[in-house]
Symmetry: C2
Subunit: 361 residues, 2 copies
DNA sequence: CTGAAAGCGCTTACAG
DNA sequence: CTGAAAGCGCTTACAG
């Protein structure tokens, strides 16, 4: 508890070795007598010595810093990613620096450049839509900073990436609705400029095809991932004569718009209409019935991204560069068996209450 | 675009000055001939020179790093805080390092210590509940690392803090309900161990007193800030003979539980029951009617925290150490005029639809 | 298996 | 107003 923090010199003196040996122990380099190593380790513990990041960074090739770059993410997305990244960083002795960028800014390359040249991070994690931003990627490449793309639109040769299988997840959740007996399943598309939109749509199509359910194009409506577009989509879909018995929205925000609209129209969920979303957002469990949806492995993707970067900076073999992580279909109360087969005749009777109020939890 | 990034030596040579002069210009120190300064600046721009954080940190007293420490925050909270912090950091030439800690861990002091001794950040921002964690504060004090507490339970002499006025906000939103003619206003408390719970409750009490509305203790029910406790609270409150015409929940998650419960009981919101929350969470606008609530100045609190830290690290006068930032009451569709004065007789007729469906947006 | 020397790119006193 | 020297705390070659 003296005034100054101990340095590598203090440790070396106490342990009766050179600073080089202490350095070797700290970096877990091979070729140190195990007795010497134990001796040094005990002094390190006793003095509570911690190497200083700035000195290691200046002298060596590593900064022990990993950057997380994002642009206008949903709160839930960034929180999930960050949780996984910070925990894995701590385990590996790294620290996470976060930077919020403007995807539309013409000087975004410079913004990246600034961070990289100031911090010299050992790696960068890019979340969508930055994972598809050519300027960002070019700036990183020029600075020779390794990066991992989270859910990029497409995998790039030699650039690491982590993602989940959006198409398969969408196929699974559509399959769930089909298994419940639904045949008229509405689909609300995501924003046209996002890669996930297309994948989720394809998953929906595949599931129908696999179940040999003919495609009804009128059941497919546009959306932009926002609540209001879910409201608009539901308004359109539920006004049909032969209205769908289920609606799968490309994300939870839109699914909540569908849910609200159904409730306002007096359509019981899930008795008369099943609703499924995608994302497992916090709001999915803040409504009743709670949403059936897909849980994206955000924290695991981030952990994996950190691992790939740490391996690369250590010179270890990172293994497979393109990782596809397992998702989870979360079945809650917004989906149920299709109504018994009598064609809906338009306006349905009944209240907004579910047939059987479920338990409060 | 050569292989190596330019150093201060390259700049000095090009500008025909000593590295010390370049250093002075970079740090905006006074006492440099303005012509010399301009000359140096132009070389810096031309070479695209950026000082390296690790070298500055090692040689000097500043690291240009600010830490953000949190424990299990809501996604929305951390995202809001971070947005404000990263932007202000960028403007000031700082970078934000985030670390997720475990508030219950017995070695949390060590966890903090590890970050501080490795990174030597110029300051730390602590969010609740860490802003009230004695071990964290002690570790920071021992390391002489300046910190700013976000919304601490109580202000500490000499320790900077930023917060909003929870009590006044709660008083305002209760006042809004009173102004709408409500007299039986239910209140759902927050978790007993959080400082905000008490403040919001006091605000509710004050508003009633100011309006000379007698306190009915049966209208006050416990809660823990979670959705389910809102459901439980509403179930209890709405079963009363003289049921409340409005319910103010201490946060949005609970308010959503109240909303769902009302809808399932066939009580129209806001025609028969007004509902108000607190936080302005993302979910507040993902339901219908959208929630009337209080918007907490998360980003502004974080910006201010960074400013206090940057000023301190520059040796500038930070000014007032305890900042109270303005909040905003956001009036949406979940609140309306109190039903005309006929005593509720228990079970109310009507559907879950609002009297007049509002606009879709 | 271990160590002495040089150097990473800046800032801090100290001179002039 | 400007600069030459020392040094921050490590790692990198290089020896032995």
């Amino acid at each position: 508890m003296s005034g100054k923090a101990p340095t590598i010199i203090d440790v070396a003196r106490e342990a009766g070795v050179s600073i080089k040996t202490v350095s070797r122990v700290m970096n877990q380099e091979p070729g140190v007598n195990s007795e010497t190593r134990g001796q040094v380790l005990s002094v390190i513990t006793r003095l509570n010595y911690r190497p200083q990041q700035s000195a290691r960074s200046l002298a060596g090739a590593r900064s022990f810093l990993i950057g997380l770059l994002y642009y206008d993410p949903s709160a839930d997305y960034i929180a999930g990613v960050q949780q996984g990244a910070t925990l894995r960083c701590r385990e590996a002795g790294y620290h996470l620096v976060v930077e919020s960028l403007d995807d539309d800014a013409p000087d975004i390359g410079h913004q990246v450049d600034r961070v990289v040249s100031a911090l010299r991070p050992d790696g960068m994690i890019l979340t969508p839509p930055l994972s598809d931003n050519a300027q960002v990627l070019a700036a990183l490449r020029a600075a020779r900073t390794p990066c991992v793309l989270v859910s990029p639109a497409q995998e790039t040769e030699g650039v690491a990436s982590v993602r989940m299988d959006d198409q398969r997840a969408a196929q699974e959740i559509t399959g769930l609705l089909l298994a419940l007996g639904h045949r008229r399943i509405g689909f609300v598309k995501g924003a046209a400029d996002q890669a996930a939109s297309k994948l989720r749509y394809q998953g929906y199509l595949r599931a129908l095809k696999a179940a040999q359910v003919p495609l009804d194009k009128d059941l497919i409506v546009p959306g932009d991932f926002k609540f209001d577009s879910g409201v608009a989509a539901a308004t359109q879909l539920l006004a049909r004569k032969a209205r769908p018995t289920a609606i799968f929205a490309s994300n939870d925000d839109m699914a909540l718009g569908v849910l609200t609209t159904a409730q306002r129209m007096g359509i019981a969920v899930p008795a008369e209409l099943s609703i499924a979303g995608f994302d497992d957002s916090p709001a999915a469990v803040l409504v009743w019935p709670r949403l059936t949806t897909v849980h994206q492995p955000k924290a695991l993707m981030a952990r994996t991204a950190v691992e790939l970067l740490v391996a690369a900076s250590r010179g270890d073999d990172p293994g497979q560069l393109h990782r596809v992580l397992p998702h989870q279909v979360v079945v809650r109360e917004s989906t149920g068996a299709a109504p018994v087969a009598r064609e809906s005749t338009g306006a349905a009777p009944g209240s907004a209450l579910p047939a059987k109020p479920g338990p409060g939890r």
